[in-house]
Symmetry: C2
Subunit: 331 residues, 2 copies
């Protein structure tokens, strides 16, 4: 759109299902270039741009993007090393929520390194988000613009709920119901464990400690279906911080089918409130079933990354949630 | 929410159906106070806050808010006089779109007066919005933060479309279909003529020149129904400027029932696009039927007015559309 387009150099931390999808979403973009990636065992940086297939080959065949030739480096402190050595404008933190302090620990690495730029996460858990929100002043002082909760839910649906709320004098309920269909759960090992941690009878620690065999056995018992209710999703915190309603009026639940790429129900958010005339009504935002979790999470995350770049150029640092900022469309 | 809340002093320009509804929406707000209003024949200012009923009485019984005692002033240059004499932080421009340069002429009055603050409009017509967008540099120099297109459509639905677009690599179509039910069209005389101007066989000038009797005769022939297609709505311009899609992919149409407060169909926006995996899908945002045009327009306008105040406090001046900014919830 802009002839003198500034190309944003983007890094991805984490190269599981989410990180891989983000790399694919990034590849055709003209105004962003994917130059850096890190997993637990290594990292890769190529100033001219990484290619998804080469990174996938290194990751799948050898166990880390650090084996990439050229550009790969093996390291047990891969994130720290990547931050310190590679010029990157913005990172998408495609990392697990668990433990709840993990994202905050990674953010601390950026601050410690004196890095300046834009960070975007797709955090889901309220507790994890509260931890990163507590770093507001450190982030401001560091010159980092951090946008949190920028996936699908929270993220896309939270932003839609914020817009929807405008018709009402008071919000009575925000109800998010998602349907997820994945053909092969083994591509989303970390995400599935996070989902299981939301089921009755499972703690975060128990879910994280499950072996692949134990996950498979659980899914065998449920015909591959995970039904989740009253999930700890940071939509509640984000909508409360945005002044929409107290967090206990926000609920998140859903159905995950781990054996079918088709969604078991259409993901939607319903915002119910009272208008100034005293009428009770519900606005509904429904996602097309053909949109994958990867499209809804990664597209949104990059849209917020672009919005974050605009704030960063205006020397606006600190941390904001997806409910406070309009995402920008990335070309 | 905030104990040391800054109360924004809000003015309303225009006291037809839209301005009157905005006054009602404003009345219970804690963080905003309605202090000023102008119509064609006069204006009123009360630093402690205006009351809707008193203004309605003056307007209906005497023909102008300028008859209000105390606070009212009769003037044939009511807007200019109000701007120059009254301390107001932000104005909602609840004025007709027609003629297309009318809003721009009013904005020029603010610039000429050396006024600084926030302006919000609910402009509908693309041509009118192009005119005010052309004033960007003047507004920046003047220290005015102007948010345009902040009604329902454009406004609420345009913002929802911008959020919805994030799932897609390319947007194929944005289709807005609105249903409006009004029990008594005579409360929305200007709005109805703007609608008629969108009907086949009517120009803007013809619609504006229609007498009330001619409008009534037209509605008699259509059983009170106005069917509008391919309307000139600035959603197209706003989504193009936000980089979502070329304006010719955006269409706005609707059905207005002038004899029934119930909506003839649920107002909705559908965003169809292609995901990064090549899937075609449609996200849909549907408004609850019980929400009135007044609730959807005025609630949104005030949400953007609050967002505009935050920009103005940060010395961020100029003009932005509702597709570029996340509205804030007003308490």
């Amino acid at each position: 759109m802009n002839k003198q387009m500034n190309v944003t150099k983007v890094g991805i931390l984490g190269f599981g299902g989410l990180g891989q999808a983000a790399a694919q979403v990034l590849t055709p973009k003209q105004e962003m270039k994917w130059v850096a990636v890190a997993d637990q065992k290594g990292y890769a940086y190529q100033p001219e741009g990484l290619t998804v297939q080469s990174c996938l080959d290194s990751y799948r065949q050898h166990g880390s993007v650090g084996y990439l030739e050229p550009g790969g480096t093996l390291s047990t402190t891969s994130i720290r090393d990547l931050i310190q050595t590679s010029p990157v404008n913005a990172y998408f933190l495609a990392l697990p929520n668990l433990p709840n302090t993990f994202m905050a620990d990674v953010v601390q690495e950026f601050i410690n390194a004196g890095w300046q730029g834009v960070l975007v996460d797709a955090l889901k858990r309220t507790t994890a988000m509260e931890t990163v929100l507590g770093m507001r002043e450190q982030l401001q002082a560091a010159g980092i613009t951090y946008l949190t909760g920028c996936g699908a839910t929270p993220g896309l649906l939270t932003a839609a709920a914020t817009v929807a709320a405008q018709s009402f004098a008071e919000i009575h309920e925000v109800k998010i119901t998602f349907g997820v269909g994945i053909a092969n759960w083994e591509a989303y090992r970390a995400t599935i464990r996070e989902d299981i941690a939301h089921m009755p009878g499972y703690t975060v620690e128990q879910a994280k400690a499950m072996t692949d065999e134990e996950v498979a056995a659980l899914l065998e018992r449920t015909n591959g279906i995970l039904e989740l209710q009253n999930m700890e999703h940071a939509d509640d915190l984000m909508l409360e911080l945005a002044g929409i309603c107290p967090r206990d009026r926000v609920s998140v639940g859903g159905v995950v089918d781990t054996r079918n790429a088709d969604k078991p129900l259409s993901t939607n958010v319903q915002v119910t409130g009272r208008t100034f005339e005293g009428k009770i009504a519900t606005h509904t935002f429904t996602l097309g079933d053909e949109t994958s979790m990867a499209a809804n999470v990664c597209g949104t995350a990059l849209g917020y990354l672009k919005a974050g770049m605009a704030f960063h150029r205006q020397n606006c640092y600190g941390i904001m949630t997806a409910a406070e900022v309009m995402p920008k469309f990335v070309h």
